[in-house]
């Protein structure tokens, strides 16, 4: 039993690429062992540091035995050349060839004797292919080479059973050597096994195993925060990134001047986390403190690292402070006029024009939401002013949030401030969703205005291109409606938005916008339902009859049917519908068209009458329910027709000789289907 040990040494590979490369390498090597029926320790690991991608598998046999096998060649009727090729490629002589009948005709064969193969030979032959198969999320070329890799690859160390494996991977020859320092790449050392490799680097403080690095970083941080009575925010993606950008982590607690804590904490946190990869700390009351962690890749023996990082954060924060102090006192209302100088979009006017439209739109929405018109109009007016501030210039990701802070500082109403903060939320599928009505109203009007505008000037996204993230806007709109159970008439709002644009002098083709935007939003609803793991046929059905004004309904009905589709009420509802619609479909294809009005005077028996009565009961139910439909109850009512339907089909022959009777029965079935349409059109549901 032997071990395979491979190290790929490169320039610094970014964290997320390392993670992706580790997974890819692991998958590819595993497949290789399985495909070749080589035993191996399945609990193997792939490790990485920024510079080293390391594979280690043990418990591998040195040889594998391949049993005798018959290798199939060309058909006996194939041209002679095919046989020659077969002989040549298998390196055999003609005498070994024999003919044999198979299901597909007579073929040439030869017997490959059982034999032993050295695993090291197989590895040498295949490793290059295995490495080539790594699918990088992002890769690059360098110098004159044609190889793609995460960053320039410098050397490959490959060992099996303590002996080097020799193969070429593009321009690189594998060996048993690697660079021992990642910086100057001067020292080179031979390694013949993984254990001595690990040990060597550990002595230098370098931890090859990322999980170990993570543990050590976390332990050190915990030790310090416990001592100092601090907390950190759980932030897995940041920690994982940090773990993968160091090889010998040293945790350093740094601090900045407390005066900066007067700046809104989002700004401080963004600066620390996304710009500097620092971990901010909080006190027991969850207030941000002036302590933060730096994970250095070097022991800070002279204190340079701490000093340097503290200087960097102070410089960045004094920048932010300068802007905060300057911007917060700039009167939001007085600046509104200046929005005239900032174009929202070519062909859609300035941001001043936009907020005028948003004001009207949100004001109309406020009627439905029963919220203060004055407040939502104020929020609309000031919501884009922060775009002109230096702070948003510096921290574009904090647009809105920064505006909310300005508004708070200037004493605006609490709900107005929150609405300004949350106007861009949600931003796509995963993002946080605003819950407060003022925020929802502002966000809705922002998105509607943009959607109508972009469709108005014909900038709809194409299947491959969506440069203005219009899809995300529409998905966010759907989420606002569905997840907040917002009862708005979207169709009317779109028409109104168009008319507001018209008032400003825009000549949009209103009919076209309505149709296209409506289809577009419905498509997003379908995507949204798909994300919620709703069956495709249910999604199709729910959006078949229900339109833009019924997004919430379509969503709820889909959820409800999806939940019940394998349960009795679901199965029975669909079965009843299908029995009727199947007959209708075959008949309609031939001649008879039905309208869904049966004439009770033409009924010949009780089964027809009972079914008719039941259908009418169900109709009454649907007429009686208002806005508070309980969809589960509706399904139950629909499924309750099961007996009447079964009795009808067991005892009545639809295909009566009398064409009038036959048509009437078909009318009855159509009536049932139409009644079921009250839930939604079940014709697309696969039974």
């Amino acid at each position: 039993m032997s071990e395979l040990f491979v190290e790929l040494f490169s320039e610094e590979i970014p964290a997320r690429l390392q993670i992706n490369a580790r997974n890819e390498l692991k998958k590819n090597i595993k497949n290789f062992f399985i495909d070749n029926q080589i035993k191996f320790n399945e609990n193997f690991n792939v490790y990485s540091t920024p510079n080293r991608l390391v594979l280690h598998i043990d418990k591998i046999p040195n040889e594998i035995k391949l049993s005798l096998e018959e290798i199939k060649g060309p058909n006996v009727n194939a041209p002679e050349k095919a046989l020659e090729g077969f002989i040549r490629s298998n390196n055999i002589i003609l005498e070994k060839i024999f003919k044999k009948n198979t299901e597909k005709g007579e073929f040439y064969f030869f017997k490959k004797e059982s034999r032993k193969i050295k695993v090291s030979d197989l590895l040498e032959k295949n490793l290059s292919e295995i490495l080539k198969k790594i699918a990088w999320n992002k890769s690059m070329k360098w110098a004159n080479y044609d190889l793609y890799w995460g960053r320039p690859l410098k050397s490959i160390l490959a060992i099996f059973n303590k002996k080097p494996l020799n193969f070429d991977f593009n321009h690189i020859n594998s060996s048993n050597k690697t660079f021992i320092d990642k910086s100057l790449e001067e020292g080179i050392k031979i390694f013949n096994d993984f254990h001595s490799y690990l040990k060597f680097f550990k002595q230098k403080g370098i931890l090859i195993d990322q999980d170990l690095r993570k543990k050590i970083i976390q332990n050190k941080i915990n030790e310090i925060i416990n001592k100092k009575n601090l907390k950190i925010e759980q932030n897995d993606s940041l920690i994982d990134e940090i773990v993968n950008i160091v090889e010998k982590p040293a945790v350093i607690l740094c601090d900045f001047d407390k005066k900066f804590l007067n700046i809104p904490s989002e700004i401080l946190i963004t600066t620390m986390q996304s710009h500097q990869k620092y971990l901010p700390t909080f006190d027991k009351k969850n207030n941000l403190t002036n302590n933060f962690f730096v994970v250095s890749d070097i022991k800070d023996t002279k204190g340079f690292v701490k000093l340097g990082n503290e200087r960097v954060i102070e410089a960045r924060l004094s920048d932010a402070e300068f802007f905060w102090e300057k911007n917060k006192t700039q009167n939001l209302v007085k600046q509104v006029d200046k929005l005239k100088n900032i174009n929202f979009f070519k062909g859609l006017g300035s941001y001043f024009d936009k907020i005028q439209r948003m004001r009207k739109l949100s004001s109309l929405i406020s009627d439905d939401f029963l919220i203060s018109k004055d407040k939502i109009e104020i929020a609309s007016s000031i919501c884009k002013v922060d775009l002109m501030s230096d702070l948003v210039g510096e921290f574009p990701e904090l647009q809105g949030i920064v505006g909310g802070h300005f508004a708070r500082f200037q004493g605006f109403d609490k709900e107005v401030c929150l609405a300004v903060s949350e106007q861009y939320l949600p931003n796509g599928m995963e993002s946080k969703l605003p819950k407060k009505m003022y925020s929802v109203a502002l966000s809705l009007s922002d998105k509607l205005d943009s959607l109508v505008g972009f469709f108005g000037i014909n900038l709809k996204p194409t299947s491959s291109k969506d440069p203005y993230a219009i899809r995300r806007m529409a998905i966010s709109l759907v989420r606002l409606i569905v997840e907040n159970e917002t009862k708005i008439k979207l169709k009317d709002l779109i028409v109104y938005t168009c008319s507001v644009y018209r008032d400003q002098g825009y000549e949009f083709d209103i009919k076209k916008i309505q149709n296209e935007l409506s289809d577009f939003i419905i498509e997003r609803l379908k995507n949204y339902l798909k994300e919620k793991k709703i069956r495709q046929d249910i999604i199709e059905s729910s959006t078949f009859l229900l339109g833009l004004d019924d997004i919430l309904k379509a969503y709820k009905k889909s959820i409800c049917l999806n939940r019940n589709i394998k349960k009795e009420i679901g199965l029975e509802t669909i079965a009843a519908y299908k029995r009727c619609s199947n007959i209708l479909n075959t008949e309609e294809k031939i001649t008879i068209e039905t309208l869904g009005f049966a004439d009770p005077g033409l009924f010949k028996n009780d089964y027809e009458k009972k079914l008719y009565k039941k259908i009418n009961d169900i109709r009454k139910y649907f007429l009686s329910i208002g806005k508070d439909e309980n969809y589960e109850e509706s399904l139950k009512i629909l499924s309750s027709i099961k007996n009447e339907v079964n009795d009808f089909f067991d005892n009545v022959i639809v295909n009566d000789e009398d064409i009038i009777i036959k048509k009437n029965r078909l009318e009855l079935l159509n009536m049932l289907c139409k009644t079921f349409d009250n839930y939604f059109n079940f014709s697309k549901i696969e039974a």
Binding site: W142, E185, D297, I298, V305, G308, N309, A315, K346, G393
Partner: protein
């Protein structure tokens, strides 16, 4: 007794000298700054155009870089609308480039064994140049001091061979070396001249120009004229003069941007127009190289 000698603070100009000497020894052609307003050293034709085509090329130069939107009237200790980049471009990228870079840091007093030098992912893209590259920003104790990029695409064309570009932010680097909190306190030379003495007035006046006084109506017109001129020169197949006009376009756009008269969406349109110019120039240049 060498170790007892007090280390003299490396002045701003000595930093430049040292880097020039270092890269000169590595075989680079030491060029002087390009004589047009550009946003970064990358825009120098010695990088943009020379990185295209098959011929090997090594160069290093200082490039004054103008970013009108970054002006702060000389009030901000870290922001300037005019600053210096030290740019190195080598094609094809040499195997030992990282070692060369780290040693260049030593030549200006930054020892990588004492500082936390980090290569942090930073894929670079220049929409106006139709350029993209993969690489890092190099951090020294948390401060970004260099951009390190392997060009993959330039002027919309795939780079083959691949060039490596190293861009040092000279002011940042010097603030680090000289331990200064404000760029204006940097020691320029051994006579005690500071960065403030040299550039403060210029920062103040140019900020006023960029943000307040630049005549935007004229600039919009100038942009159109320059664009037209570029297209004409491209037709005549003279790439270098065409590229000059394109650089001017780019700078006019930057001032308009600083004046706040270009919206986010309009920006995209202007950038696309400049990119189209660059691409057409790139084509003409490549044809001239074979």
């Amino acid at each position: 007794m060498v170790s007892k000698i007090k280390k003299k603070t490396l002045s701003f100009q000595d930093t430049i000298f040292n880097l020039q000497k270092y890269w000169s020894k590595k075989g680079c052609v030491i060029l002087q700054p390009y004589d047009l307003e550009v946003g970064a050293g990358t825009f120098h034709p010695a990088t943009t155009l020379r990185s295209l085509g098959p011929k090997p090329w090594k160069t290093a130069y200082v490039q004054p870089s103008r970013r009108p939107t970054d002006g702060r009237y000389g009030d901000n200790p870290n922001r300037l609308q005019h600053y210096y980049q030290f740019q190195v471009l080598i094609k094809p990228s040499p195997k030992e480039i990282k070692k060369m870079y780290l040693n260049s840091l030593s030549s200006i007093g930054i020892n990588h064994e004492e500082h936390d030098i980090r290569f942090v992912e930073d894929d670079w893209e220049s929409p106006t140049l139709g350029a993209a590259g993969l690489g890092w920003e190099v951090w020294c104790d948390g401060m970004e001091v260099t951009q390190f990029t392997y060009f993959q695409q330039m002027a919309g064309v795939e780079c083959k061979p691949v060039s490596v570009e190293i861009t040092y932010g000279l002011e940042r680097l010097c603030m680090f070396i000289q331990n200064k909190k404000s760029v204006f306190d940097l020691i320029w030379n051994d006579e005690g001249i500071t960065y403030k003495d040299v550039f403060h007035q210029s920062e103040k006046e140019f900020s006023a120009y960029n943000f307040e006084y630049a005549n935007t109506d004229n600039l919009f017109k100038i942009f159109e004229m320059l664009e037209e001129e570029t297209k004409l020169l491209v037709e005549k197949k003279i790439s270098l003069p065409a590229y000059d006009q394109c650089l001017k376009c780019s700078h006019v756009f930057n001032i308009l941007d600083a004046r706040g008269v270009i919206s986010v969406a309009q920006r995209a349109e202007y950038i696309a127009r400049i990119r189209e110019l660059t691409k057409s120039i790139g084509k003409v240049w490549i044809e001239s190289q074979s």
